[in-house]
C-alpha cells in the first residue's frame, strides 16, 4: 500500500500501536496445523481449508523467524508426497519392455500396437502425476505466498514452486528408488520409433511428457539446462542416427535414386513435423543435420551415380521434379559438399553428352571426307557446271576488283555433295544448342538458376566444345547458314534467336581468333556473292561480336561492310562518270576492297591475263578510279567475280552466268575455229591463271552438268595433257544457264584445314610477340613466370597460347634483341 507517512499529521499525536500479530498458538502447533493443511491440499481437499487461516500461519511463522523451519518442513512434506506418488501411480504402469535400449525396429503388427499402448499408459501416468503435483504446488505456493515474499527471496532461496519442480525431478524423474528415468526415456524413444515405423501413437501424451522434461531444469551445477536437453535429446539423437544410418543403407540397396530422394524428403518433413508436434523445436536443427549426415552426406556420389535412376537418367528423361528435389536436398548438405558433388557429376555428364555429340559428328564427318577425297582432285569446292560454247557475244557483265576483286551476281547453288559435310557441321552446332537449351531449362526449373551450378554447366560446355577442333569453323558455318539467302525461309526473330544462341556458344570457344578467320571468310563470300539475307541481321551479328569481344575484334569485319557500301556508292558515281565520258563496251561493276580487311585467300594477288575484250572496260574504271583517289593501287581480282555472257551455239543462244575466270577461259575459244582445240598448257600460258584455279575453272566448263567445252580425252579429272575445244553442239532447254564453280561456304577438307591452322598459328606468333613487347615495354623488366602468365592472360580472350609457343616467341625476341636476359636467372629486360 503506497502511502506516505508524512502526509497527514493532524489531530492528537496519540497513535495506537498496531496489534502485535503474535499468535496465541505456539509455533509448534502452528506448524502442525500447516503441515496437515498441506497434506490435505495434496489429497485434493483444499476446499475444506480456510486460505486466510493458513496463510496467516505461514505469515506468523515467517514473522517469528521460523521461516527456515517452515521452508524445510514443506520440502520434506513434498518429497514424501512425491515418493508416494511414484510408488502408487507410476511404478505399476512400467511397460513390460522395461529399459531395453538399442536401435532397430521394435517389431511390428500386434506387438507394436501393444507396445504403443503400454508406452502410452506409462506416459499418461507420468503426465497425471505431473499434473497432480503441479496442481497442489500451485496451491501450496498460494498459501505460502508470504513465505516466498518474506523468507525465500530474502534469503536467496528458490521459490517454493520451483522447489516443488526440482523435487519432482529428484523424486520422480530421476528417482533413485525406481527406474523411472530409464523407463521414461526409453518409452519416449520407442514411441518415436513406433511412429517412424509407421504405427500410430498418441502424440499428445508424448508431447505432454516432453513438455515436463522441457519445463524442468537440472541444477546449476549440471549446467542449468532443461532435462530435455541433458537427458533426452542426446539419447534421442543417438538413436535417430543409428536408425537412419541403417535405413540409408537399406534404401540404397533398392537402387532407385529418385525414390530414395523422395524418401529422404519425406523423412525430413516427418522429423520436422515431429519436432513441432511433440518434441522441442530446439531439437529441429540438430535432428535435420543428423538426417542429412546419415541419409545424404555419405551417399552423395552413390545416389548421383545410381545406374538407371541417378543423375544421368533424370537428365535423360528431363525429370524436373526429381532434379529439383535432388538439388534442394543436396543444398542442405553442410560445407557445400552436396553442391560440389552435384556440380562435378553434372559436369561429367554434360561432358559425356558433349563427347557423344562430337563423336556423332566426327563419324559422319569421316564418311563424308572419305567420299569427297575419292572424288575429283579439286575436292572441296562444290561445283555445279555446264558446258557449251560458241562465239562470245554481247554484253558481258564483267568483273574485276581493285585492290580486291570483282563483283558478283547472286548465285544460289544448293550444297549437294559437300552438303553432307555441311550438314554434319550444322548438326553439330544444332546438337550443341539443343544440349545447351536442355541444360538451360533444367538450370532454371530444377536448380533455381543457381549461379555456381551454371558455372559448372558452362565449364562443361566449354570443355567439350573446345575438344572439337573444328568448333570455330562449324560455328561460323552455322551463322553463315542462318544469314545467307536461300536457306529455309526464316523470320527475323528466328534468325535473331539463332544468332543469340550462337553467341552463347561463341563465348565458350577458346580459339576465338580461329573463329574470326572463318567468319571473315564466310562473311566475305556472303558479301561478294550478295548472298546475305539481310544487312540488318549481318550488322546485328557483328554488333553482338563487338559486344563480346570489343572493338578490335570486329574492326576488320566492319571494314568489310564499309568497303561494300563504298563500292555501291562508287558504282553510282561511276555510272555518272560513264554518262559524261561515253558508255563502256561491256558493262562492269566493281567492288573495291581494302586488302587488309579481307581474308588473305580472297585478296591474295592472283595472276590472270584478262582478255582484250575486257580491257577497255577495265581501263575506263582504272581511269575513273585514279581520277577520284590518288596514290591508291588497284589490283584486279577475278577469283570471286561473275559474268553474264550470251553464247551462240549451233542450235540457239544461251545466256551463261559464270565466274570471271571461266569467262576468261571461254573468251579464248572465241578465236578458235570449229574443231580446233587448245591444250591445257596453251590455256595456262594465255590466261596466266594458277594451276589450281585453272583446273577448277576448266572442270566447271568441261566436266560439269553443262559442258560448254569438250575435254579430250573425256574424264572427270583435268590433266596437264588434256585438250579442250568449244562444244558447238551444246543444247539445253534453259535459256539462262549458270555455270558456277562458286563454292558456297562449307566445311573445309583436311588439307584446307591444315592450311587454315598454319595461318592461324602464324598469326598467333605475331600476336604473342606483339603482346610480349607490349607488356615488356610497360614493365621494362619481368620474371619469366610473370611474363608468361601475363601473356597468357592477355591473350586468353582470343585463344589460349601454349607455354612452348610463348617461350619460343621470347627466344625469338631475344634473338632479335628486343629483350635480353638479366643476370639473375629467369628474368628479362626490355631493350628500347
Amino acid at each position: 500500500m503506497a502511502m506516505s507517512m508524512g502526509a497527514a499529521r493532524r489531530g492528537k499525536p496519540k497513535i495506537r500501536p498496531p496489534k502485535r500479530p503474535t499468535s496465541e498458538t505456539p509455533i509448534k502447533d502452528t506448524w502442525t496445523k500447516l503441515a496437515n493443511a498441506i497434506r490435505e491440499i495434496q489429497n485434493h481437499n483444499a476446499s475444506k481449508l480456510s486460505y486466510e487461516e493458513h496463510y496467516r500461519y505461514g505469515y506468523n511463522m515467517v514473522l517469528h523467524k521460523h521461516g527456515d523451519q517452515l521452508y524445510n518442513g514443506v520440502k520434506v512434506l513434498i518429497s514424501e508426497y512425491l515418493d508416494k506418488l511414484a510408488e502408487e501411480k507410476i511404478v505399476p504402469t512400467f511397460p513390460r519392455s522395461g529399459g531395453t535400449r538399442g536401435a532397430g525396429k521394435l517389431g511390428g503388427g500386434a506387438e507394436a500396437i501393444e507396445r504403443a499402448l503400454e508406452g502410452d499408459r506409462f506416459l499418461k501416468a507420468m503426465k497425471s502425476a505431473w499434473e497432480d503435483h503441479t496442481g497442489s504446488m500451485r496451491k501450496i505456493r498460494d498459501i505460502l505466498k508470504y513465505m516466498d515474499k518474506g523468507y525465500s527471496t530474502a534469503n536467496g532461496l528458490p521459490l517454493i514452486y520451483e522447489v516443488g519442480l526440482t523435487l519432482f525431478l529428484q523424486h520422480i524423474i530421476r528417482s533413485i528408488k525406481h527406474p523411472i528415468h530409464t523407463h521414461l526415456i526409453s518409452t519416449l524413444l520407442s514411441q518415436v520409433q513406433l511412429e517412424r515405423d509407421g504405427e500410430t501413437i498418441t502424440r499428445s501424451t508424448v508431447r505432454e511428457c516432453t513438455d515436463i522434461l522441457l519445463r524442468l531444469n537440472v541444477s546449476e551445477r549440471e549446467g542449468g539446462k532443461t532435462v530435455y536437453v541433458t537427458d533426452f535429446e542426446p539419447e534421442f539423437l543417438k538413436r535417430s542416427s543409428e536408425f537412419y544410418g541403417l535405413e540409408a543403407v537399406e534404401e540404397l540397396e533398392k537402387g532407385d535414386a529418385a525414390q530414395y530422394l523422395r524418401r529422404v524428403e519425406r523423412r525430413l518433413a516427418e522429423e520436422a513435423d515431429r519436432t513441432v508436434h511433440y518434441l522441442s523445436t530446439t531439437t529441429h536443427p540438430a535432428l535435420q543435420e543428423l538426417l542429412i549426415a546419415n541419409l545424404l552426406t555419405p551417399h552423395l556420389q552413390t545416389i548421383l551415380d545410381m545406374p538407371g535412376s541417378g543423375l544421368v537418367t533424370m537428365l535423360d528423361s528431363n525429370r524436373i521434379a526429381d532434379l529439383r528435389r535432388l538439388y534442394v536436398l543436396y543444398l542442405k548438405v553442410p560445407k557445400d559438399e552436396g553442391k560440389i558433388a552435384l556440380r562435378s557429376s553434372l559436369r561429367n555428364d554434360i561432358e559425356e553428352r558433349g563427347k557423344a555429340v562430337n563423336q556423332g559428328n566426327s563419324i559422319s564427318e569421316r564418311s563424308e571426307t572419305g567420299a569427297a577425297e575419292a572424288g575429283p582432285s579439286n575436292s572441296s569446292k562444290l561445283t555445279q557446271d555446264q558446258n557449251g560454247n560458241d562465239g562470245i557475244e554481247e554484253e558481258n557483265d564483267n568483273t574485276g576488283g581493285g585492290k580486291g576483286k570483282g563483283k558478283a551476281k547472286a548465285i544460289s547453288s544448293s550444297p549437294t555433295s559437300a552438303g553432307n559435310a555441311l550438314n554434319s557441321a550444322l548438326k553439330w552446332v544444332q546438337d550443341v544448342l539443343e544440349l545447351k537449351d536442355k541444360f538451360d531449362s533444367i538450370l532454371e526449373t530444377a536448380f533455381m538458376g543457381d549461379k555456381q551450378v551454371q558455372v559448372s554447366i558452362n565449364e562443361a560446355f566449354q570443355s567439350f566444345i573446345n575438344a572439337n577442333p573444328r568448333a570455330p569453323e562449324y560455328l561460323s558455318l552455322f551463322i553463315d547458314e542462318n544469314l545467307k539467302k536461300g536457306t529455309k525461309a526464316r523470320s527475323e526473330d528466328e534468325i535473331e534467336s539463332a544468332l543469340e544462341k550462337t553467341i552463347v556458344l561463341f563465348r565458350f570457344l577458346s580459339d576465338k581468333d580461329k573463329f574470326e578467320r572463318y567468319y571473315k571468310n564466310h562473311l566475305a563470300r556472303r558479301l561478294l556473292y550478295a548472298r546475305s539475307a539481310s544487312d540488318d541481321s549481318e550488322k546485328q551479328m557483328v554488333t553482338k561480336l563487338k559486344m563480346e569481344m570489343g572493338f578490335q575484334f570486329t574492326q576488320k569485319l566492319e571494314g568489310m561492310f564499309t568497303d561494300m557500301r563504298l563500292s555501291n556508292e562508287s558504282a553510282n558515281t561511276f555510272r555518272n562518270y560513264l554518262n559524261r565520258h561515253g558508255a563502256l563496251p561491256i558493262d562492269l561493276s566493281v567492288n573495291v576492297l581494302t586488302a587488309s580487311y579481307w581474308p588473305q585467300p580472297i585478296v591474295a594477288t592472283t595472276s590472270c591475263t584478262f582478255p582484250a575484250a575486257l580491257q577497255p572496260s577495265m581501263e575506263t574504271f582504272q581511269k575513273y578510279y585514279d581520277s577520284r583517289h590518288s596514290g591508291r593501287r588497284l589490283t584486279w581480282q577475278g577469283n570471286l567475280g561473275t559474268a553474264d555472257v550470251r553464247v551462240r551455239f549451233k542450235t540457239r543462244s544461251h545466256d551463261l552466268n559464270l565466274s570471271t575466270h571461266a569467262l576468261v577461259v571461254l573468251l579464248l575459244f572465241e578465236e578458235t575455229k570449229s574443231g580446233e582445240s587448245l591444250s591445257y598448257p596453251d590455256i595456262k600460258s594465255l590466261t596466266d591463271l594458277p594451276d589450281s584455279d585453272l583446273s577448277r575453272t576448266l572442270q566447271s566448263l568441261a566436266c560439269g552438268k553443262f559442258r560448254v567445252l569438250t575435254k579430250i580425252p573425256k574424264g572427270r579429272d583435268i590433266n596437264m595433257n588434256d585438250k579442250f575445244e568449244f562444244n558447238e553442239s551444246f543444247t539445253s532447254n534453259l535459256q539462262r544457264i549458270k555455270i558456277m564453280q562458286v563454292s558456297s561456304n562449307k566445311p573445309e577438307n583436311s588439307k584446307e584445314r591444315e592450311e587454315t591452322q598454319e595461318m592461324v598459328d602464324e598469326e598467333r606468333k605475331h600476336q604473342v610477340e606483339a603482346c610480349i613487347v607490349r607488356i615488356m615495354k610497360d614493365r621494362k623488366q619481368m620474371t619469366h613466370n610473370d611474363l608468361i602468365s601475363e601473356v597468357a592472360h592477355q591473350l586468353s580472350t582470343r585463344f589460349s597460347p601454349t607455354m612452348s609457343l610463348i617461350k619460343k616467341r621470347i627466344e625469338g625476341l631475344i634473338d632479335r634483341e628486343y629483350l635480353e636476359r638479366t643476370n639473375d636467372m629467369g628474368s628479362y629486360r626490355y631493350l628500347a
Binding site: 500500500m1 506516505s4 502526509a7 497527514a8 495506537r16 476446499s47 486460505y51 486466510e52 498460494d142
Partner: protein
C-alpha cells in the same frame, strides 16, 4: 475474474461485513489467491473472506483497493489525488501491517 457483477463478502474481525466487487477485492494479492476458484479454498467456495482486522482498517483497505483499481491504467503524473491525504495517522501503522498481509 473481473466480472463487475461478481461480488464477494469481506468480514472484519469485529463483525463488519463489506460487499465489494471481485475486481476490487482481487487488487489484493492475498485476496486474489484466497478467492482463486481453481485452487478452490473454503473462501473461494463461500465467496466470503474473514480478515483479521478491525472494520475501520478494512474499510480503508477497501477504499484503497478501489482507488488502485480506478487509477490502474493511469500514468503516475496524471493522478491528481493523493491517497495519503485520506489516511488518518491514527490508523497508519495498523494499516501498514494490514497492507503487508494483504499484498495490497
Amino acid at each position: 475474474m473481473s466480472q463487475e457483477e461478481d461480488f464477494v463478502l469481506l468480514e472484519s474481525s469485529d463483525g463488519y461485513t463489506f460487499v465489494v466487487t471481485r475486481r476490487i477485492a482481487e487488487a489484493s494479492g492475498t485476496l486474489k489467491s484466497m478467492l482463486d476458484e481453481e485452487a478452490n479454498f473454503e473462501e473461494a467456495k463461500n465467496k466470503t473472506c474473514k480478515i483479521q482486522q478491525r472494520g475501520v482498517i478494512l474499510l480503508k483497505v477497501i477504499e484503497y483497493l478501489a482507488y488502485k483499481v480506478q487509477y490502474a491504467e493511469f500514468n503516475a503524473e496524471d493522478i491528481k489525488e493523493d491517497f495519503s491525504d485520506r489516511i488518518d495517522p491514527y490508523i497508519a501503522l495498523e494499516l501498514l501491517t494490514a497492507a503487508d498481509f494483504l499484498e495490497a
